[in-house]
């Protein structure tokens, strides 16, 4: 749990002072999710790692944490996939192209890409967990030769909630990516697997010593999927999870995301299961 040295972070005169970013594209993905494409107003690159997040503000409404959904391999603009649910997200949705929002970050510790190189990567996404994982998946695909087998398991509540359908269509056609999807509830057009994401493990071979499982999803998913990968023999310190918490300041002060002595916003949001196992309340 070593936070990055100060110099490696984008330390502003005030870490509370947002940079401005322009909304350059908006794509409605589902009834409630929109994909925003943004660019920093000063033209600089965000410089993030998959798994990191931003504090995004609609100035006057508020600020909230969102994981970055695009890969750093894809140039200077970046993407956020946001569900319309609270004040900030509702205000965001009403902003037009060209509007400016405030962003602070990238914040926190992202996915351990160096641990994954030359290893099999098993990505497990539940619901909105696909949002930060899309950043990782895109990065894996763009640097495909650096990784061994790439397997993606994606579970959603119903087919209508599935995100990034166009990209998924591309992942499915690739020979070098094993993509499997399941839904809790099928609709009449659904021909795929039905059941929780753990049911996708049935026909899956996991090499415990060579696989890094990376999972993002609701707490209940963690509980079952961790059990599943442990049963496959994957060591605890190779199981990677990203936690959701109410990260308000994002810089390890305000206390909202704190679990015991750990600040999810800075020590995480990405942790290994070995780190979380000893933290009471982490998996609640």
């Amino acid at each position: 749990m070593n936070p990055l040295p100060l110099a490696e972070r984008r330390l502003k005169p005030s870490p509370f002072l947002p940079d401005l970013a322009e909304i350059i594209r908006k794509d409605r993905l589902t009834a409630t999710e929109t994909l925003y494409r943004l660019r920093l107003a000063d033209g600089s690159e965000l410089g993030h790692t998959p798994g990191q997040f931003l504090e995004v503000s609609v100035l006057g409404i508020g600020e909230a944490p969102f994981s970055i959904s695009s890969s750093p391999t894809r140039g200077e603009a970046f993407e956020l996939c946001i569900r319309r649910v609270g004040d900030v997200t509702k205000a965001l949705e009403r902003l037009e192209l060209g509007s400016m929002v405030g962003v602070r970050g990238p914040l926190g510790r992202g996915f351990p890409l160096s641990t994954m190189r030359k290893q099999n990567v098993l990505v497990i996404a539940g619901g909105l967990g696909i949002v930060p994982l899309r950043s990782l998946i895109t990065n894996l695909i763009d640097e495909r030769d650096d990784f061994d087998d790439v397997t993606i398991l994606y579970g959603c509540k119903n087919p209508g909630e599935m995100l990034f359908k166009d990209e998924i269509a591309q992942w499915v056609t690739r020979d070098d990516v094993d993509f499997r999807v399941t839904t809790d509830i099928a609709d009449p057009g659904w021909k795929g697997n039905v059941g929780p994401v753990t049911t996708l493990f049935r026909r899956l071979e996991v090499h415990p010593a060579r696989t890094v499982p990376v999972m993002v999803g609701p707490p209940v998913m963690f509980k079952h999927v961790v059990k599943q990968v442990l049963a496959c023999g994957v060591p605890e310190d190779r199981i990677v999870l990203s936690l959701e918490r109410r990260m308000k300041c994002g810089i390890g002060e305000c206390g909202h995301c704190q679990i015991n002595g750990v600040y999810v916003c800075q020590d995480g949001p990405v942790f290994t299961y070995a780190e979380l196992k000893r933290l009471e309340e982490a998996m609640l």
């Binding site: 936070p3 100060l6 100035l59 918490r245 002595g261 800075q266 309340e281 609640l284």
Partner: protein, 368 residues
Amino acid sequence: MRFLAQDQLEAFLGHLAGQGRVVAPVKGADGVVLFRPWEPGMAVELDVLLAKQAPKDYVFRQSETYLRFGYQMEGVAAAGAEVTAATDRAHAVLKVEPQNDAPAQVIFGLRPCDARGFVQMDNVFGGYGGFYFDPYYNAKREATTLVAVTCRDPRSTCFCTAVGGNPAGTEGADVLMTQVEGGLTAEAFTEKGEELLAFVGFSEAGQAQTLYAETVKEQAVARVDVPFEIEGVRENLRANIEDPGWHDLCMRCISCGTCTYVCPNCYCFNITDEIVEGKGERMRTWDNCFNPLYTLETSGHNPREQKSNRFRNRFSHKFWYYPEKYDSLLCSGCGRCITHCPTRIDIREVLRFMGSPRSAAAPAGEEA
């Protein structure tokens, strides 16, 4: 050791007020003693041991605007039309201006526990965990000189010595003054403190005054209760984390957060925006970890939904999590949380009970 005659106190404060703001405990018309900006003519209240609130607010503001911003209102129909800035069409941000107001100030008459409270809080805002240096807290902290006054007459709720403090403690204090016959003795521990004692009203303390002050200090230490043994508290809190005793202890807590607001070193805060007619500000405001909304995420997930978990968090944070991260307790033993809790929850009772091996402790209901 220096000496200031009682009749020189007003002149001393006046001298300090000529150089910056002076904050001191003053009794209001309602009888409540609070740290207030001092002006000539105001009586400083040193006989009431503790101001109702710690002077935390003067360094870590209860509510602090740290950003002002303005929207250009292009596209909005008419002046005076209802504007909800960010949600209106065709706006553009004009500018975002950081705010950081840190006047030079002397906090006079705080107690050693209050001064130590700042030192304990410094860890988190100073970025000692490897995180960020907080520009707002630190600007005010650096512009502040702390003149502590020895607790001649500790209260029954004081427990500073149990947590490593002292009623004549000097940790964090630039100057420590002690009330003696006819005035106050004064000792400086920092350069800032030395500068203050250069005031002409000070004289060298006589042998009798020095002896008196030392006696006052010694007697004060002896009068502070040691209600629990700090040794082993961290380990026992860890061992007792799942103990059902937490449920019993938290039963009467109404999650009001008074304990966190009167505390000299509770530092949690929230961030909110306000906007009126296109001019807005972003502020941070003290928060309260007992509030069920404190950890509630937009998704509806709440990792500390249970009151007992929130209750446990505050005590564990002060005596286990924070010490583990920063090698410092987050409690200086002032006892304000005990005197101000509307349901008489007593941190000493909680620590005696949950900070000991559970088999050896009495049931919660039989304590206090």
